[in-house]
Subunit: 371 residues, 2 copies
């Protein structure tokens, strides 16, 4: 293998592929990047067994392809070397088996490479008819739900986001069993039904690679999902197991609906959270008194806080309820509107939050029994 | 005590005083901020026994001083409460002994406060004739030397910067015994001589508080130094012990002086450092060949790198020397010029780096014997 390429072109692609290189992996080959030089251009690949990433540099963006071939090389080292070669033409050449030279005008790196045959086969074949979403819409879905996923490995299926494609829509659900976030969007031209759980960590890696407002393709298989955007392909494993049916958790009727300014409500909860304890589930109290909402919390040895906010109610019902200020703040951050509806059915029933103008995004928080 | 004050005024000052509050201190009173309300205005004070900070808000910047008095209150909590009260008028009032209310229009915090008499006396009296430096000059001195201080508590005196005032100048020295940074500036109107060592950590805290290009006063005592700038006073303890005499370490004559472009040299060392090991002291090799400088390093099982740079030499002497790439990069970062002089006396003698145009800043690095 031998090629000449601009440093800036190569580093743009390494910036993606490096995300598939684990620094902690005990299997040395998974700390590597594979470069595959063909007459069409250069493929770069990495995998840590959780995700796999492949990018492609077209031959028109390569200075010269002198000899086709494959090499496998330490990912972090290749990335750091290319990153530190400022804006120059770089030559990469296999001089003898498993011995690579990376050259510029004044620098010369001679590196031991790994056996190409040890690098896993990535199985990145695509479907003919993928699901297509805008990157912006996809990123929003993730950001509005991902915080509600569980970090506990005891129920693996809750450590991912559930993607359900059916009846012309995509329904994304995240829950750690104390709270739930659900986002629904309409999808045209949806032929097949899918129900998969994608790991939180991999979705975070994915949306960090998004840059422009182009589309992303989802190719869903039994045990993996492949995302394609621009010249990048990313594979994520799917979490095995049946996602809990959450459709009956969200009531259709409410004893009381409160309308409140989102920013004022957020700031009041944020301040009240200063006098809560993690050991006490960050509990704060919420009590309506006509058109006034009183939010309060206390740590006996330290002090007490009371916040007052104006609200609108849809009836004369009054409610006292308690919940985790941390969960409430997380849920409020996902809402992007001036006012929100807080929908309630008594002090032991779920609290529902949503934009009054839209049903696309539902946030649910279970109350804490204190009263 | 009772006052009304703008949130923005109070948080500006708490931003400074919070730096004197330790989060890890086992003595609860040292996690507190003291507020002292007099007819002149409000003093805020904190100390963690390493440093003490005092700021002053003049009465003209206070909405109303209703009742003079002192309170002592949890520093982190006060800071977070005031920070989260967005741009409002805040009332702080002691309602009964050791019970404080912090009020705005919609928020009300009731906090237990601490015994004012337990708060240590800060002893912040100033000298009539302090040493005066511009904040910019002072910050430069610190940034150009501090990296060379030791982190090893085994020789406490090396964990600070040595400030020596004598003969119309200030000489600042930092060394961990493997490298040394020395900065000299001229000081007019210097009457007294001082020789003190100020802890690295405290100097870092100090320069982070600098904001404008105003002056800073240094009031030096036997066991402490007090810095005054704007309405802020900061006390730092001084490290006991005699700082080593480093004046004979820097030679006056050199067998060879090399002139090299700073940026090219830095980048070459930075790349070569990719093939060094911390366990091997990040050793890289440096070898002149006429007007060419060859920098090289290797990790046998991984690979080898060679960098070539054009240099000017003041004579035909050739040298091979080895040193820590990490120490070299640290030293080079402190120099702000297009070219630097690298001054050498053989492969076991210190390497000296400086701006060819100026003797203000000297960087010294001991070589590593490998050849």
């Amino acid at each position: 293998m031998k090629l000449k390429i601009k440093q800036s072109t190569l580093i743009d692609h390494l910036n993606y592929v490096i995300k598939g290189v684990s620094s902690k992996n005990l299997i040395p080959i998974l700390n590597c990047i594979k470069l595959e030089l063909t007459s069409d251009g250069l493929y770069l690949m990495s995998t840590d067994n959780e995700i796999a990433i492949k990018t492609f540099i077209d031959k028109k963006d390569i200075e010269s392809i002198d000899e086709q071939g494959d090499i496998v090389i330490s990912g972090k080292l290749l990335y750091e070397i290319i990153r530190k070669l400022n804006d120059e033409i770089v030559t990469i050449e296999e001089i003898v088996d498993n011995k690579i030279i990376i050259n510029t005008k004044n620098s010369s790196f001679t590196l031991n490479s790994n056996d190409v045959n040890e690098f896993p086969d990535l199985e990145l074949e695509l479907k003919d008819k993928p699901i297509v979403l805008s990157q912006k819409v996809f990123k929003n879905i993730i950001n509005q739900t991902i915080f509600a996923t569980s970090t506990q490995e005891s129920r693996p299926v809750l450590t991912g986001i559930n993607f359900k494609f059916y009846g012309g829509k995509l329904e994304c659900t995240a829950t750690d069993s104390y709270r739930l976030a659900k986002k629904i969007i309409n999808l045209e031209n949806l032929d097949e039904e899918y129900n998969v759980v994608i790991p939180t960590k991999n979705l975070n890696e994915l949306i960090r690679m998004f840059s422009e407002d182009e589309d992303v393709e989802m190719h869903i298989f039994d045990n993996k999902v492949i995302f394609k955007f621009g010249s990048i392909i990313m594979l994520s494993r799917i979490i095995n197991g049946t996602y809990p049916d959450t459709s009956k958790l969200i009531p259709n009727e409410f004893a009381l609906t409160i309308k409140v300014n989102l920013r004022n409500f957020y700031n009041a909860i944020d301040r009240a959270s200063l006098l809560t304890n993690e050991s006490d589930k960050n509990t704060i109290k919420f009590e309506t008194k006509n058109n006034n909402l009183v939010i309060s919390s206390n740590i006996p040895e330290i002090g007490y806080v009371e916040e007052n906010i104006m609200i609108d109610k849809d009836n004369s019902e009054e409610i006292k309820i308690a919940f985790s200020s941390k969960y409430m703040l997380d849920a409020l951050k996902s809402l992007d509107c001036e006012y929100i509806n807080i929908m309630l059915n008594g002090d032991v029933k779920p609290i529902i939050l949503k934009n009054p103008e839209s049903d696309d995004l539902i946030q649910l928080i279970l109350p804490i029994r204190t009263y």
